[in-house]
Amino acid sequence: MAILRHLSVHRVRVLIGWLGLIVLSENSVPLVAQAVGRGGAGLVAKSDSGSVYLPDAPVPAGLAGRDSGSPAGETGFSSSAQDAQQQDTQQPDKQQPKRGEQTPQTTPGAPSLGDLGLTPEQTHGDTQQQALLDKRTEMLKIHQRLGLITIIPVAAACISSAGAPPQRNNPGSTTSRDVHVALGGVAVSMYAATAYFAIRAPRVSNEPARGGIKLHKYLIYIHAPGMILTPILGAMAFNQANNGEKIHGAASAHSAVAWATAGSYVAAIVAVSWPIHLKF
């Protein structure tokens, strides 16, 4: 009897011991998303056989590059396009995230954007706002291009202004003056077109301007009235000169206003590019 009792006690001990070992060993079974014996930080998305695939596990760069056969692996980087292509071919049923939504890939138990206190409003994209930004950029690009091109007729008008006043030896000749008027007209027209694209560009932020753009905007208060005043004063001066009169009154300010306008215009271009660090 004593032997039987001793045997049953021994069995219970062995059983408890085995139970404990089984329970303990449960946690050390490698997860499918983990690779055993692989170097690095141990990030593996799929098994080498290629048949087992975790949809949300990240792909290490080397593996992704090797699998795709692209040079991405050499650079230690793989783009999502490759990943998406791979996933498309291997998982035809997997739904692609909707455009405009950020759905980060997560591993089970990993923190999500919601865990960080970010609300869906903060994480979800706004395609309308993006379209507005795209339109703004497109219009401001045209504004920039036209603005730079406008420098040419502005400079030409400034240079040709030397021949605009009535010449002492040939007071009847108006050719130089006409050329100046034409160049001035082109400059004002192009300036108006440039301004149009800046004014019509959609406003996407109500925050006050910071940086070089601030001075760029302040200078509008000089060159915009200047661009209106210059041709008016120029027309007055043109009529006085054609009538054989000496330029007098407000018309005599034409030159000064024009130079101030041209100066502030160039300053506005420099301001929006400031600070400049030339490095070639």
Binding site: R13, V23, F77, L140, S273, P275, K279
Partner: protein, 179 residues
């Protein structure tokens, strides 16, 4: 009999203790992107990152997220242009995920495999070194993510028809603490 029961419960409790989750919280962050152009050198800074790490069964998952619009380059026009180019209204968050074995969390140099989601694309950077200084319970981590525009299929913006450099390294300076 009492001893056996005690042993049995200890054996049952041990795995549960081993699985106890440990959470890491991001205290402070400074993320800086650097943009280079023959005429401009620009740094855009954000302090608005949020982060969390969860350690489970010896493996830690970290997530760091930052709104694209929170980057400030000192010029509001440039920031809005950056937002447009990076499709920041459509994909407003930059998120970085990484996994580390819990045993490596205290090492002075952390080599991380990063998964970065930005501008609607995902890029992976392997073996990125980060320097770590542990002061009490805080872990001060610094490093640079060698990101490029092509990694995220971003068309390089240009100034005077000259595009910016493809490289936009992101300097990371973060302080974590376990909760």
């Amino acid at each position: 009999m009492k001893n056996r029961c005690l042993l049995f419960f200890i054996l049952l409790t041990l795995p549960a203790l081993a699985q106890a989750d440990r959470t890491w919280i991001l205290d402070q962050s400074t993320l800086t992107y650097h943009m280079s152009h023959p005429m401009h050198e620009v740094d855009g800074v954000s302090h608005a990152a949020k982060g969390k790490g969860v350690c489970h069964a010896g493996q830690c998952d970290f997530l760091l997220a930052v709104p694209v619009k929170s980057f400030d380059s000192g010029d509001s026009n440039r920031d809005l242009h950056m937002l447009q180019v990076t499709r920041g209204a459509q994909f407003p968050i930059v998120s970085v995920r990484l996994m580390l074995p819990e045993t490596r969390l205290a090492l002075p140099t952390l080599y991380c495999d990063l998964e970065v989601q930005f501008a609607g694309n995902t890029a992976h950077y392997s073996h990125v070194p980060f320097t770590q200084v542990v002061e009490g319970v805080t872990h001060h981590i610094t490093g640079t993510v060698p990101s490029t525009l092509t990694d995220f299929k971003i068309d390089p913006p240009s100034f005077l028809t000259v595009p910016i450099k493809n490289e936009i390294p992101i300097r990371v300076d973060v302080i974590w603490h376990p909760s």
